[in-house]
Symmetry: C2
Subunit: 206 residues, 2 copies
């Protein structure tokens, strides 16, 4: 079979292959990506002149466009919007935990991701968050979401069995194992609901 | 200069070199680690028979022993303890963000890290957290801390300038830039204080 020629290559195809590589191997290496696509590294750079950073931003854009909330539901209050925003965001990256550390290492420039943050900022502003707190509230939500997306990729056993099975940690681990549903997602829900209760107090008007 | 012979190598030296490699390059590669140490990969494996996972757990142990809280301060209430626990934990990993995604990918087995979680579980239990919620509260704190440690490694400009400088996000970014102190740490404080307010409602006794 002939090697695909450059015209078959596209930015979109490169970005999708990068996400696939991250999901399979946990890392992103452009020379290996070119190999996966059956092209030379220089052909790859012809489509993504910004190199690795542009590929990572493309992955952020792809996942943001598919998974992140930008639209408000009429009549929805700020806390319900933020819950939906953070839950969709977490679900998106929990499916691709290897992407997370790449995202935080570079400036958000993709319009789809920026649009989602703009929508969140608008909702928080209208809810009475002052400009001095607003970005910190956004960042705290980001921290919880991205930490939880990493946790979603954790092994089934997060903590080794305690030498003392009667220890409080050991008891809590057993109690949690007996619960239905996904451990990491349940923890995220408890954390998000608690964070929303605490953020409520920052509103300068009701 | 003669290549150091195997006896000079130790588990501790390997773990410290691994942390140094992570800080410098953002990744951990055992063949390169052996090269950095001037030894063969097989000499390296002689000291860390569990390979990469054992090295990562060694890094967790080194940082936990240096940075994580296990001791309670007499008279300290649960929220003050948790604040101290999470703040020290964050400060430790904010200085080494590349370690974060490796930590969440494997079971916590190092005794120094486990001791810190045991202490947190004991405090939450005494404060009235039920076994069914306790581990989720611990995990939510973990998520916030590790997300923030990644954020501490973010570039100075987290979001690209908005095409509309009057947008709410753009205003909030400017307000935040005008503040003293570290952006990422301020956001973590706001998030942690808010999370503690919300966790308070889970206590089954005062």
């Amino acid at each position: 079979m002939a090697r695909p020629t450059t015209p078959l290559l596209s930015r979109d195809r490169i970005v999708r292959a990068a996400l696939d590589q991250l999901d399979r191997t946990g890392a992103l290496a452009l020379p290996r990506l070119a190999k996966d696509l059956g092209v030379s590294t220089s052909s790859l750079y012809h489509h993504v002149k910004g190199g690795r950073e542009e590929v990572v931003e493309g992955v952020r854009g792809l996942l943001s466009a598919e998974g992140m909330v930008t639209e408000r539901v009429p009549g929805e209050d700020w806390a319900r919007f933020v819950d939906r925003w953070a839950s969709r965001y977490r679900a998106t990256y929990a499916a691709h935990p290897a992407v997370v550390p790449l995202l935080t290492a570079q400036t958000v420039t993709h319009p789809a991701a920026l649009a989602s943050y703009e929508a969140l900022a608008d909702v928080l502003h209208e809810a009475g968050f002052a400009d001095d707190d607003l970005l910190h509230a956004v960042t705290a939500l980001d921290d919880l979401v991205l930490g939880s997306a990493l946790d979603a990729g954790a092994p089934g056993q997060v903590w080794a069995d305690s030498p003392d099975p009667g220890s409080r940690l050991a008891r809590a681990v057993r109690a949690t194992r007996a619960q239905p549903g996904d451990r990491s997602e349940r923890a995220f829900r408890l954390g998000l609901e608690s964070l929303l209760v605490g953020l409520e107090r920052l509103r300068t008007h009701p």
